[in-house]
């Protein structure tokens, strides 16, 4: 009954909460990178890339992903089409 009410009210059960919070905490514990440092890192990566190619900063996704006990920094950076840039 309570799970039905939770579904209706859209409230998440606490186990899901625990798992999501742990996923984030473990990434930071394992890499020793805080959320603030990760933001600074993203800004620097973006700045470096935009010096060479034309990118849309809002379309960029940079995150640390978990794969078993390994973490990787995964960046998805769509490049703007060359056709839109001026030639000559």
């Amino acid at each position: 009954m309570s799970s039905f009410l939770d579904r209706v009210s859209g409230r998440k059960r606490s186990a899901q909460n625990a798992k999501e919070r742990l996923q984030l905490v473990l990434i930071h514990d394992r890499t020793d990178i805080t959320a603030v440092e990760l933001e600074a890192l993203k800004d620097e990566i973006l700045a470096a890339i935009s010096r060479h190619v034309d990118i849309d900063p809002n379309a960029v996704q940079i995150d640390i992903e978990r794969d078993g006990r390994e973490q990787r920094l995964v960046a998805d950076i769509p490049l703007r089409s060359v056709a839109r840039r001026r030639t000559g």
Partner: protein, 265 residues
Amino acid sequence: MSAKIVTITSGKGGVGKTTAVANIAVALASEGLKVCCLDGDIGLRNLDVVMGLENRIVYDLVDVIEGRCRLRQAMIRDKRLPEMYLIPAAQTRDKSAVSPSDMVRLCEELRSEVDWVLIDSPAGIERGFRNAIAGADQVVIITNPEVSAVRDADRVIGLLEAEEKASPALIINRLNPFMVKNHDMLSAEDVLDLLAIELIGIVPEDENVIVGTNRGTPIALDPKSKAGQAFRNVAKRLLGQTVQFIDLDTQGTLWARIQRLTGTK
């Protein structure tokens, strides 16, 4: 004889390290193996009371290391099982009385005495933990399906990786199947997904564990206890046997539900 040396550790305190050591030891000894438990929690000894051997202590771990007695004199023999022994921790000393190299030497000496050595690690990640893992062939991490226990377990796994120890195995202790079913407790799958190490045991929450501890009788001696069964299965897996994880599904058949409701199961 050349014993296998296993250390049980957790990072966080109170998740069931001592209970696990006592029960796995009982289970291994019941299989006819010669087992020695070692309480590594110097200054906060407890394995003696959990095993019901507190009245028989003469010498302790620090006495052996400092040469006040021979190894065999500090090995208290359990009366229920002929081949189970305990080396208690010193109660009036602290962790600095022992170094990791002392522990390595002691473990090597024990190796020729028994088949299995189980070391009960103290909580934390400092000297006592370093001592407890120093001589281990295998480390078993025990955790509860709960945020702080899982986080601390992950820290310990990370430290073991940095030490280049063999990958540890995991026991998930005190799992409440009803709470898992209601999605109010991390499931064994969730914990396993987060920690990503080999699973060797899922132990359900069981009030009989407290009853057993009150009496100094590990529940692995009780053939009816579910937690006892789970610890016996851990022992079998340590011995290399393939054992199915016990079914903790709370739904079950209608008949099982009636039995539960009427308290007949």
